[in-house]
């Protein structure tokens, strides 16, 4: 089945590809067929194992010139078209490839450095992001500035040609594996909230940086707190204008918000849900009673719509048209549908759904219970659903601001 995904017949992307894109698709499939070996398919070793595989996967992608296809060719990318990105993402998702260790840095930090960085910064950081020689983590959120990023408190005091940073960051994934961090710090405390913030790159080996893992409600520790105490960073590591980091960060955040479509994930979850329902079905009602069907069909409607919206956005991208209002709505809906499906799976599975991994009789060997817990984060990460609604209300509908 896995083999079929990478070297089977041409996939139906819903559209005909031009010759160049077909060649690209063939290249991606060929790459996956050879590079995605048993080592890369393993699921062992917990988070450390995952990160190690992600590092190796990053290396293999880069060796094939596929680490950051959306980046301009001059910086090691492919200047890929929207269709190529669709093809790439579809193939990667179908093959269930591991996550490259610098995925976030490639989606967020790289484009930021390309847009705002100095030539030196570009030369110094971009190649090592691509290769995975540097592993990056993000230091934006703070304990008292979650969704309200502009109220961050980490201070950066200018001392000659260095900045001395003190503060605390939270929700930093991979901090214990990363050797670099990109940070937002308040460098001008007297300026209004969103002014006076700088976007800074720091070596994780700098004295004064301490990482403490945060255990999530799932029991896993995939995030960290990062404590910074008098951490000295040369001013050459500021990206964009000093005190002008808010605008720099917003270009990164907009990547995060629109980001990669998570359509594949909700399609997969819908299939699992239908499969779960089918297990308690009867010949007359193969997916269960009408009340269950009602829920499933509502989810299916949302998933199909989100597929259409993703395809439309890709088509719009072809013509250089920025994605329509649906894109910001798609992020909100995807999170909520994802979470709702995980919640409904618990009800469908009943008592067996409440059993954790390893318990005899646990539904999907504990995946139902795990997903129920895990998906609580879907409406919290990258701006809570409440913040998303505010942004859509204000930016898209033009309603007056309330905060």
């Amino acid at each position: 089945m896995a083999a079929r995904a990478v070297d089977g017949p041409e996939r139906d992307y819903g559209v005909v590809l031009d010759e160049q894109t077909r060649a690209f698709a063939a290249e991606v499939r060929a790459f996956l067929a050879s590079a995605l070996d048993a080592d890369m398919r393993a699921r062992t070793g917990g988070e450390a194992g995952r990160v190690e595989r992600g590092r190796e996967w990053q290396r293999r992608l880069n060796a094939a010139g596929l680490a950051a296809i959306s980046w301009p060719t001059e910086y090691g990318g492919r200047s890929a078209t929207a269709v190529q990105q669709l093809v790439f993402n579809t193939e990667i998702a179908a093959a269930r490839a591991p996550e490259p260790v610098n995925r976030n840095a490639i989606n967020q930090l790289g484009p930021t450095i390309i847009q705002w960085g100095s030539p030196d910064q570009r030369e110094r950081y971009l190649p090592r992001i691509l290769s995975g020689e540097d592993v990056w983590c993000q230091g934006f959120s703070e304990p008292d500035a979650g969704s309200d990023l502009a109220s961050l408190r980490t201070r950066g005091v200018i001392d000659g040609d260095t900045m001395v940073i003190t503060g605390q960051k939270i929700w930093t994934s991979k901090a214990q594996y990363a050797n670099w961090i990109y940070l937002l710090v308040r460098t001008d405390p007297d300026a209004p909230k969103t002014r006076g913030i700088s976007y800074v790159l720091a070596d994780m080996a700098s004295p004064g940086i301490e990482v403490r893992p945060i255990r999530q409600i799932t029991g896993r520790a995939e995030f960290n707190e990062v404590f910074l105490t008098d951490v000295r960073v040369p001013l050459t590591q500021v990206v964009g204008p000093l005190h002008g980091g808010w605008r720099v960060a917003r270009s990164t955040l907009s990547y995060e918000r629109v980001g990669q479509s998570r359509t594949h994930r909700i399609e997969r979850r819908l299939r699992s849900l239908v499969s779960l329902a089918a297990r308690s079905g009867t010949p007359q009602a193969p997916l269960g009673d009408a009340a269950i069907e009602d829920r499933l069909v509502r989810f299916a409607a949302q998933v199909e719509a989100l597929r259409q919206i993703a395809a439309d956005a890709t088509a719009a991208g072809i013509r250089g048209v920025s994605p329509g209002p649906e894109a910001s709505i798609a992020k909100l809906l995807t999170s909520e549908v994802d979470q709702s499906m995980a919640t409904f799976a618990l009800e469908l599975a009943g008592p067996a759904g409440t059993l954790e991994r390893g318990s005899p009789g646990a539904a999907d060997d504990g995946d139902v219970a795990l997903a129920y817990l895990l998906m609580r984060a879907a409406t919290l990460g990258a701006g809570t659903s409440e913040i998303q609604r505010n942004i859509i209300g204000e930016k898209l509908l033009g309603l007056p601001r309330d905060v």
Partner: protein, 355 residues
């Protein structure tokens, strides 16, 4: 399979074309009509129907949009009909566009006058059709009614002239005041359009096209209701602030907008599937109908809530959208039927995956 689809470039061009079509439809309707005009129609003693507006869209060829170009029609698909229908919904233009377009598609050629497609079959005997159909929208002003009959075991698709003997139309008042009627045929003479499997297929496909056009209209109605509420929320002040600053209002309008976007995407996806005769066309169309009943119909209700007391007055336009949405949604064939089709498809996908 991939070879059957368009390229992304073609898709992008088509999206631009459809946007262009919508813009021109909006421009025409904005000159000819308004929600306020639709509101005024509710004050008349008769049904809420403006023949001059119908004439306008007939002159533009909208009802013929799905008829082959060879036969003098627009040569377009249900996707284009849906764009025009959504524009009508948005402009509060209560017209039998989807029904007439679907009927002409089934007739395979252009014809004068309003036509409707009766979804439930009738009985045929000696070339005459009998049966009864409650609350058929726009039946009072229809010139032709298409019906699928059973003639001694052979399915037959035929057209009945509204002025034929044996046709009785009893006017009723639906909540949107459209010129609906309970329709009865008592041995009404009819014109044969198709026989056998082809009759069944063409009737089924016509009903599906009509339904998608009506869901598109409902998307437009919901969008108009929400847009009006958004405008109001930006200006109406309570407690010293525009009410749109309150998250209870703001987030309601956002969620409704999301419901509308999902509805529009489903209509587009279903219309494309029908136009390309994809095997999942019926299922996606049913997903769209399900969503219409599950969410779209409630958007104008939420808009009334945002308007508050003023939206509850007869003089205000909010209830035009409320009434139109309720009537359109209830005409789609019911939640249970569409849920059944969609659930069967979902189950089939799973079985296909296992196979």
């Amino acid at each position: 399979m991939a070879a059957a689809g368009p390229t992304f470039e073609e898709l992008a061009d088509r999206a631009a074309e459809l946007a262009q079509l919508r813009a021109s439809a909006d421009a025409v309707l904005a000159r000819a009509w308004s929600a306020s005009a639709a509101r005024d129609l509710l004050d008349t003693a008769g049904p809420a129907y403006e023949p001059a507006l119908w004439t306008t869209v007939v002159e533009l060829g909208w009802p013929e949009v799905m008829v082959d170009a060879d036969a003098g029609g627009g040569g377009a698909g249900v996707r284009e009909l849906c764009v025009l229908s959504e524009a009508c919904g948005y402009a509060a233009a209560g017209l039998p566009l989807a029904a007439t377009a679907a009927a002409m598609w089934a007739e395979g050629g252009c014809a004068d006058g309003i036509a409707v497609v009766l979804p439930q079959p009738g009985q045929l005997a000696a070339g005459a059709v009998s049966g009864s159909w409650p609350a058929v929208a726009y039946a009072q002003v229809a010139a032709r009614l298409l019906v699928l009959g059973d003639d001694a075991g052979t399915p037959v698709l035929c057209a009945v002239s509204a002025s034929a003997p044996g046709v009785r139309r009893t006017p009723v008042v639906p909540i949107d005041h459209n010129p609906a009627a309970n329709v009865e045929f008592d041995g009404a003479p009819c014109t044969l359009l198709a026989e056998g499997e082809e009759a069944v297929r063409r009737h089924r496909e016509a009903v599906r096209r009509m339904m998608l056009g009506e869901i598109a209209e409902l998307v437009g109605v919901a969008a108009a209701a929400n847009a009006a509420a958004v405008d109001y929320a930006g200006t109406r002040v309570a407690f010293g602030k525009p009410i749109g600053t309150f998250q209870a209002v703001k987030h309601r309008l956002v969620d409704q907008r999301a419901d509308i976007e999902v509805g529009r995407a489903l209509v587009a996806r279903a219309a494309d599937a029908v136009d390309r005769a994809r095997p999942d066309a019926a299922a996606i169309a049913s997903l769209a109908a399900f969503w219409a009943l599950d969410r779209l119909v409630h958007v104008p209700e939420g808009a009334v809530q945002v308007f508050g007391g003023i939206g509850y007055t007869w003089e205000h336009q909010a209830h035009v959208h409320l009434r139109r949405a309720a009537r359109l949604a209830m005409s789609l064939g019911g939640r249970a039927a569409h849920r059944g089709v969609a659930a069967g498809w979902l189950h089939g996908l799973l079985a296909g995956e296992r196979a």
